[in-house]
């Protein structure tokens, strides 16, 4: 998928080139990162998304300077920084545990980086005040860090990392310790701070919803590899691999026969014998069989017609929408998500015969 020209023209802030990280030696060696290459643009909200153990935190720690790559290079604005210790990198981190200094006040925590950079106190005072204002913590400046709540600690950690005006801000699952409502608030706050400060944010999370709502671009990782990089829309609507499709949102997998390919689209024949158009994932190697995905909200349950047919197995009401779980006639499950309207139910009950109408542009062929 070609990038829009305006985005393409942006300079690269961080580039990871062919990164390999191996822990241990010999047959018991563990590859935490396996030939990972990522380019993060300036002023971008970039998210590393994946389940725990996928290598996302290792990559983040490598950018911060707490880990060194076994192979490959890390470039900041084109300069190799792989050999620089953390204190020489203009990159700051918001740690998962916040890691606020417990023996210092909120104010002293935020001032720490500026003091270490040797800035004059005439400059530090206003800058700390500005940062505390940015995170709405002006009134608690003299508090000890064990006298503030988790959400406040989160804000202080953010102010502390932003105060020295780093080129890149790294965020290691910073919202995972917050409760649902606070997390939602902080997601919006983080987005606001990123656009206000113009700093490149590299965000690590295992929460796909968080990644979709906040990011400009997402790199989906699994088992030490980057599977797909793209905008939230790319990742959600045009997943390249089964893992990506499965990890992000709910989805339906169908086996189909490839009928014809051309110009980024294909015609596939479903098991029901009906042919539908489908887009093709990058890197797809042509074959007879193909796995296609259809998101539950891109299909409708219909009384008659549709490209697939089956029997309703379960109907679950979710308030905003209803999930209809269907067993297909040719075997296998299919789920349809339908928007609820106030006046009527979805019209299907368990055991009903049902047709599935797949939207014209809904199907995507996976590369694996």
């Amino acid at each position: 998928m070609p990038e829009p020209a305006a985005v393409q023209g942006k300079r690269i802030a961080i580039e990871a080139r062919g990164i390999v990280k191996q822990f241990g030696q010999g047959p018991s060696a563990l590859r935490a990162l396996d030939n990972v290459s990522v380019s993060i643009r300036e002023n971008e909200f970039f998210t590393l998304l994946g389940p725990s153990g996928c290598g996302k935190t290792t990559l983040l720690r490598m950018i911060a300077g707490f880990e060194y790559p076994t192979e490959g290079a890390i470039l900041l604005h084109g300069e190799d920084i792989a050999g620089l210790p953390p204190f020489k990198r203009p990159i700051n981190t918001v740690f998962q545990s916040y890691a606020l200094f417990p023996h210092l006040s909120v104010w002293e925590n935020v001032a720490f980086g500026l003091q270490m950079l040797g800035r004059p106190s005439a400059e530090i005072g206003p800058r700390v005040a500005e940062m505390l204002k940015l995170v709405h913590m002006e009134e608690l400046a003299q508090r000890r860090t064990d006298q503030i709540s988790g959400g406040q600690a989160q804000r202080v950690a953010l102010a502390r990392a932003l105060a020295p005006a780093p080129k890149v801000l790294l965020l290691d699952e910073p919202l995972s310790a917050l409760d649902y409502k606070l997390r939602k608030e902080m997601q919006i706050e983080l987005k606001r701070m990123q656009s206000e400060t113009g700093i490149t944010f590299v965000f690590v999370t295992h929460d796909q919803e968080e990644a979709l709502t906040m990011s400009d671009r997402i790199a989906v990782m699994s088992k030490g590899k980057v599977l797909q990089i793209g905008s939230p829309w790319d990742i959600y609507d045009k997943p390249a691999e089964r893992f990506v499709a499965d990890f992000i949102g709910e989805t339906n997998f169908l086996t189909a026969e490839m009928v014809g390919i051309g110009g980024g689209t294909a015609r596939v024949r479903l098991r029901s014998g009906i042919e539908i158009p489908a887009t093709i994932a990058e890197g797809y190697t042509p074959g007879r069989e193909a796995t296609i995905v259809v998101r539950p909200e891109h299909a409708r349950a219909v009384k008659t017609g549709g490209q697939l047919a089956g029997k309703v197995e379960n109907v679950v009401y979710f308030g905003t929408d209803t999930h209809i779980y269907i067993v297909l006639d040719e075997g296998g499950p299919f789920m349809v998500r339908q928007q609820n309207s106030r006046s009527q139910s979805c019209g299907f009950e368990v055991g009903d015969r049902v047709g599935i109408d797949i939207a014209a542009d809904a199907a995507q062929v996976l590369r694996d």
Partner: protein, 267 residues
Amino acid sequence: MARARFDVRSQPGFGTIALFTFVVLYLPIITLVAYAFNASESLTAWGGFSLHWFGEAARNTAVQDAAWRSLVIALSAASVATVAATMAAIATTRTAPYRGLGFKYAFINLPLMVPEIVTAVALLIVFARVKVWTGYSGLGYLILAHTAFCIPFAYLPIRARLEGMDEALERAAADLYAPPWQVFRRVTLPLLRPGIIAGFMLAFVISLDDVVISEFVKSGGQDTLPTYMLGQMRREITPEVNAIAAAFLALSVVLVTIFFFINRKKT
């Protein structure tokens, strides 16, 4: 009827054993302190309340000398031991595990396992040689010996504190442009302070209390308070010894109390 559930806290005889243990532990100490206030010359016959023996002990120049010497040795030994123990603790915790780390750890704590009398005899033999070679026979030998056996006592609480400390704090400091020395000075050291104070006090009390090694290593006229008391026991015993012991006990209790409050405030 169901049988009563087994509960380790309510077994028959526990109360009796506990009471017996406390009596054996504390009755002699209580008696010793009580007789420090005895007006008579006797250790066993009560002759009325008096502070006489405290005054007697305080005026005794031999006691003054020994007490002063004990303090100098304990302060010097505990200080050096605490610095060494802090460095050792950092070296053994702020590192990835490697072959030989367990050996180092055992080596640091060896003085806790070697019988004190063995160390004492060994030091006596070595220092006797060194004294002949150098001609120096001052307090240095006692300080050196005390430092050596104080190190593991200072090491243990400092290491425990370091292990309990979130290493992300040190990483955060490095991330915020603090070079290694500043990370240590601005973050590690302040957070380590309660452990260092605990280590110092433990070392101080252990040094103050030592008899065996001091007895073997000291030159003539270098009595510490405990070796002076031991010497007194061989002659006529008066409640003066009780008075010294009571004062000694009071000092230890005060130190432990201070330590307790410092630690509680920090955590």
